[in-house]
């Protein structure tokens, strides 16, 4: 199995985080939390194709990005005529009702 070229790996990582609007800061925090060892500046430089990183660090960055992508909420769905305010129901259930007025 041919290994993915480093530049291509960085380019597609940049694409992945860009599409999901994941900031370099957020990417680095996740990468750091799962054991990453290089700093945020280096991560940014790598994502922009400016520097090279060891293979394991590159895979950990890819993994951090994928974890964040997987956690994204699905995009909102459109309401029907008979359910205009489903979001309201969610809100109402955590309020205690004050019956005086």
């Amino acid at each position: 199995m041919k290994e993915l070229d480093e530049n291509e790996q960085a380019r597609r990582l940049a694409l992945a985080i860009d599409r999901s609007r994941i900031s370099i800061g957020a990417l680095w925090l996740r990468y750091f939390s799962i054991g990453g060892t290089v700093g945020e500046t280096e991560v940014e430089a790598y994502v922009r194709g400016a520097i090279s990183l060891p293979g394991l660090e590159r895979d950990m960055l890819a993994h951090a990005a994928n974890e964040l992508v997987d956690e994204m909420p699905p995009p909102p769905r459109a309401p029907y005529r008979d359910s205009p305010s489903e979001a309201l129901a969610e809100y109402r259930c955590d309020r205690t009702e004050d019956t005086e007025s």
Partner: protein, 242 residues
């Protein structure tokens, strides 16, 4: 390993996030200013208000007069009203006549007393978050045409992006939670690596192993690490695999 370097980087990242924070006083003055702009934009309004809301509670409020403050206060006391609905549902809410309003009976009854009979509330939306609502009130029923909604929506779109950066006093707490979570996962990952090292792996091999297992199981590294650490009973030791 370079623990000093890591700690510095973390401190720097945290400091930078904190540096971007503005005080709650700044948030108050920003929403106040925005309320005044909204009132100017809609001349038939008796008053305008802007509220930043989190978890159903107002965090910063700006209003052009005491009528607005009164009508707003009723919403948060009763937990119902056009603004809260606008925030919760992320949509424009129009009250044509409070006397015939059935969606929020407690709020409507109180508003009629003030009197405030009509109202338009638009959500302040930034990305995936709805951070609050902006509203105009009128004494007369049916005071606002579709044009008002359009104007307020345009103002809301511009203001939301700016307001999202203005943080309330709760934000440092939220950042601390985030930081604590990052450190918790990092701790767990390191403990899991320790478990793997006792099975004869090097630190780098342990890191690779965790990554591979997480990819294979399609579960976050934190969960894989927790399983590994959780399976470890103090009296049994970690040498079952190797």
């Amino acid at each position: 390993m370079a623990p000093d370097f890591e700690l510095n980087a973390l401190a720097e990242a945290t400091g930078r996030v904190r540096g971007e924070l503005l005080t709650s006083e700044t948030a108050e003055s920003a929403v106040q200013l925005l309320a005044e702009v909204a009132a100017e934009l809609v001349p038939q309004a008796a008053g305008a208000g802007v509220t930043l809301i989190r978890d159903g509670r107002p965090t910063s409020t700006g209003s052009t007069n005491s009528t607005v403050r009164m009508v707003d206060a009723i919403q948060y006391e009763t937990g119902q009203g056009p603004c809260l609905t606008s925030w919760a549902a992320s949509s424009v809410v129009n009250v044509v006549d409070a006397r015939t309003e059935t969606r929020w009976p407690l709020w409507a009854a109180a508003a009629v007393e003030v009197p405030v009979l009509s109202c338009v509330s638009v959500p302040l939306v930034n990305g995936r978050d709805t951070i609050g609502a902006m509203k105009v009130y009128a004494v007369e029923p049916n005071a606002f045409a579709g044009e008002t909604t359009r104007l307020l929506n345009r103002l809301a779109a511009a203001a939301s992006a700016l307001l999202a950066h203005i943080q309330t006093s709760e934000t440092p707490l939220r950042i601390n939670h985030q930081l604590a979570e990052v450190l918790r996962i990092r701790d767990l990952t390191n403990m899991a690596k320790g478990v793997l090292i006792t099975r004869g792996m090097s630190a780098a091999e342990a890191q690779s192993w965790l990554l591979e297992a997480s990819r294979r199981q399609r579960r976050p590294v934190a969960e894989v690490a927790r399983d590994l650490v959780g399976a470890l009973k103090p009296e049994e030791g970690a040498d079952e695999g190797a």
